[in-house]
Subunit: 228 residues, 2 copies
């Protein structure tokens, strides 16, 4: 399968790297590929520049958002939630039409400092906004409830735990659940919450996730629904 | 210990019944005890009137909010979130001062229909509002992330799973954790998230809880933090 991963941050790198390891064709979408390759400074979280990561992953090619979206049969949104809608417009409505879009982004709003708030929240969600804005694209929200390393290596967290899928298209959720199986998620560890409006629920897990991260002192944890 | 449980709904009944079974002195606070005892209709959720429950639990006495708060060494808020601040004002600032207030309420807003939204949310929480409004009371938010039956009988849900505590006062959280142990929560199953602002995180679990209830078809489930 041909995947376009939009976003060159730690989530994009982690997802793209795993997809390439699994034998998929992967491109990494970025605003300006030349600028991305030229950048040598750390990102705002202290991670090495995407160019270093790309140099170590020659199978993953950087392309513009538009070229990446044209290439991908499946598109993965790992951009910052506040930028996602604009990035997807840049990627191009026509190039996204008819495709499955896996939305991993969270609409974190850092404008009032830490901890971040969510925007939208409560009566709307980023997943729903993307689905409304791109009605011909099949949006599936998933994996936004955990650390990037856990997304592609669930066995990092001991015991059983869950990934959630939200989306309006049953076949698209089936495809995404299949991909999660490739990532190492055992059968039965993926909970289908329902339509895309259930993305409100998973995006609203972020505030407790951030506080658990603080309380536990590490990010190798995940939500498990006991009794499910 | 003398407990005042404010609210006669299913959560109040469940908590008060368990406390009485454990040998504590318990009163149930309500706006108008005579009216509560006279009511014979089902509540909005189809549950039997509180008077029936009280008739079967003679150890639990109904009192006005003010008399209940005066009686309790520990006060438990199980009222509807939208009414909680007003109920606590009625209970009386002086009668709550210096006491531990266990806040189990969620600020559900049904004004736009189902599913309910939260108000406040995101940049504030009901737990914080109560703490700000009653600075001389030690507010501990807990148990608001699960069904009432699970609160007092955690073994209803197979496997390990978690209760959370949020609050500014360490001793108050210790007292509440001790009560959870009396309720049957094993040592290590209570996660201290930090100060009362972490109540935002647990209140924001409600939207996914409601969707999981729908997806699973039963309420005997709970959040477990794998890797904690």
């Amino acid at each position: 399968m041909r995947y376009a991963v939009l976003g060159t941050g730690i989530v994009g790198q982690t997802i793209a790297g795993k997809l390439a390891t699994l034998g998929h064709e992967v491109v990494l979408g970025t605003r300006d590929p030349e600028a991305t390759m030229a950048r040598t400074d750390l990102d705002p979280y202290g991670n090495p520049p995407a160019a270093q990561w790309l140099a170590r992953h020659p199978l993953v090619r950087p392309l513009s958002f538009a070229d990446a979206a044209a290439f991908g049969e499946v598109v993965v949104n790992t951009t910052a939630g506040a930028a996602s809608l604009q990035v997807l417009e840049t990627a191009g409505r026509d190039r996204l039409a008819g495709k499955v879009l896996i939305d991993i982004a969270n609409p974190l709003d850092f404008s009032a400092g830490m901890p971040p708030a969510l925007n939208p929240v409560n009566t709307d969600s980023l997943g729903e906004r993307i689905q409304r804005t791109f009605p011909e694209t099949k949006v599936v929200k998933t994996l936004n409830t955990m650390n990037a390393a856990v997304m592609v290596e669930p066995s990092r967290v001991a015991g059983t735990h869950h990934a959630f899928v939200s989306g309006d298209d049953t076949d698209a959720k089936k495809l995404v659940t299949g991909l999660l199986t490739e990532f190492g998620w055992p059968t039965g560890s993926v909970i289908d919450l329902g339509d895309i409006s259930t993305a409100r629920g998973t995006e609203m897990l972020l505030p407790i996730w951030l506080r658990l991260w603080g309380a536990l002192g590490h990010a190798d944890f995940n939500f498990h629904i006991a009794g499910a």
